[in-house]
Amino acid sequence: MSEASLYQAFSTVLKRDLTLAYRTRTEMVNPMLFFIIVISLFPLAVSPDPKVLQSLAPGVIWVAALLATLLSLDSMFRSDFDDGALEQMLLSVHPVSVLVLGKVLAHWLVTGIPLLLLAPLLAVLLHMPSDSIPALMTTLALGGPILSLVGAIGVALTVGLRRGGVLLSLLILPLYIPVLIFAANAVSNAAAGLAIAGQLYFLGALLALALTLAPIATAAALRISLR
C-alpha cells in the first residue's frame, strides 16, 4: 500500500469527522460552555480578590480544560459504534491506527482548539498576569492533544459498554494527572517569572509518546470492544 493512499485514508477520516462535527455543532458547544461556566463561577464562589484569583488561575483553567475534554470524549466513537461505521473502519484495508489518528485529530480540532482560544479570555477574567498567558496557551497546545490521544484509548475500551461513563473517568484520569501537574506548574512558574522550559520539555515528550503509541493502543482496544 502506498503512502499516498494511507494519507488519503487519514484525510478522508479527518474530513468526514469535521463535517459530522459541523453538522451536529450544537453538541460541540457543550464542552466549551462547561469550560466557560466552571471558570466564571470561581470569582463568584471563592473571592473576587485579584490576588486570590491569580494564585488559583492556572490550576482552575487547567482542571476545567481537562474536565471539559473528558466530557467530550464519549462522542468520539459512540455514533460510529451505534451505526456500524466503526465495524467498517476495522474492516478497512488501511491500518486502523492511521484512521484512529484522523479521528483523534478531528476531536482535538473541534474541542481542543476552541478551549485553547477561550483560555486567554478566561485568564483575564481570573486576573492572570498578561506575561503568563503565552505560557498557558503553550501548555494547552502541547497538553490538549495528549488529552485527546490518551482519552481515545479509554473511549475505545468502554465504547461497547452501555454505561461506560464512570469507568472511562476512572481509567483516564490517572493518565491525565502528569499532564495536569506539569502544565499547571508551568503556568504558575511563568506567572512568578521563573523558567518553564523543563515542564514544556516534559509535555513535549509526553506528546511524542502519546502520538506514537496511543493510536496503536486505541486500535487494539477497538478490536477488543467489537469482539
Binding site: L20, G84, V93, H94
Partner: protein, 227 residues
C-alpha cells in the same frame, strides 16, 4: 491445529489441504460458544469463486456471530478461517481488500448525504470506482436523493445506499447480514439479481437470509444452524 482428535464434522466436504493458488475461503473446525451455550460446533466448509453460501437458522442460532467470525471481527472459540490457505489474522491486508461486509448496522452516517457516504466508503476500501457515484445511486433507486442528509431517508433507502457500496466494490467476497431487510419487493429483486450476477461472474457471496436465491445447483450451498 490438529483436526484428528475432534468430533466428526457436520459437513460433507472432504478434508483437503487448500491450494494456495486458488482463492477461496476455508473454514476448519469452527466452534462458537456464548455464555455456556454452544451456537455451532465443528463446522467445516470451503467456498470457492462462483459459489454462494446461505446460512439459515432460527433467531438466536448464531447466524450473525458466524458472519462476524468469517469477516474477522469476532474470534471463534475454536477453529480457524483461512483465506487462500492463510489464516485471516495473518493475512489481514489481503483479506480486507478482497472482502466486503454489510452488517445489521450498515455503517451509513445519518448526517452525511448518500454521496458523501459512498465517497468515504471508497476511500476506506482504497478503490477507484469505474462508474460515477451518481450512476450507482441511480441504479439503487436514489436519484434525486444524492445530496440530502441520510437522516431524511427511510430505513430501506439507507440500506440501498449501503448496497450501492457493493456495486462500486471490486471485492471477491461479499458477506451480507440479512441484505433484504427493510427493502421493498422491487428492491429485493434488484439485490437478488445483483447477488446472482456477482456469483455467476466468479464472485463469492455469504449471506444470512430466508429468501431463496435463484442460483443453479452446485453454486449455492446452504448451512442450517439448528440449535
Amino acid at each position: 491445529m490438529p483436526l484428528t482428535d475432534r468430533f466428526p464434522s457436520q459437513s460433507q466436504m472432504p478434508e483437503s489441504t487448500p491450494d494456495k493458488s486458488t482463492p477461496g475461503l476455508t473454514v476448519k473446525g469452527l466452534t462458537c460458544a456464548r455464555d455456556d451455550r454452544v451456537l455451532f460446533k465443528n463446522l467445516d466448509f470451503r467456498l470457492e469463486p462462483g459459489q454462494a453460501l446461505q446460512i439459515e437458522g432460527p433467531n438466536g442460532s448464531g447466524k450473525t456471530t458466524m458472519l462476524r467470525i468469517l469477516c474477522g471481527l469476532t474470534l471463534p472459540t475454536e477453529g480457524e478461517v483461512l483465506w487462500n490457505g492463510l489464516a485471516i489474522e495473518d493475512n489481514r491486508a489481503e483479506y480486507m481488500g478482497a472482502m466486503d461486509f454489510i452488517g445489521h448496522a450498515h455503517g451509513i452516517k445519518k448526517e452525511l448525504t448518500p454521496m458523501e457516504n459512498l465517497q468515504v466508503a471508497m476511500a476506506m476500501a482504497n478503490t477507484r470506482p469505474e462508474q460515477s457515484l451518481e450512476a450507482v445511486l441511480e441504479k439503487v433507486g436514489l436519484r434525486g436523493f444524492e445530496d440530502v442528509p441520510a437522516i431524511t431517508l427511510s430505513a430501506g433507502q439507507c440500506r440501498r445506499v449501503a448496497l450501492g457500496r457493493l456495486l462500486l466494490s471490486k471485492s471477491l467476497l461479499w458477506i451480507l447480514d440479512e441484505p433484504f431487510t427493510a427493502l421493498d419487493v422491487q428492491g429485493q429483486a434488484q439485490i437478488e439479481s445483483m447477488l446472482v450476477n456477482h456469483v455467476e461472474q466468479g464472485g463469492m457471496v455469504i449471506l444470512t437470509s430466508h429468501h431463496p436465491l435463484a442460483l443453479k445447483d452446485g453454486m449455492l450451498k446452504i448451512i442450517n444452524l439448528r440449535p
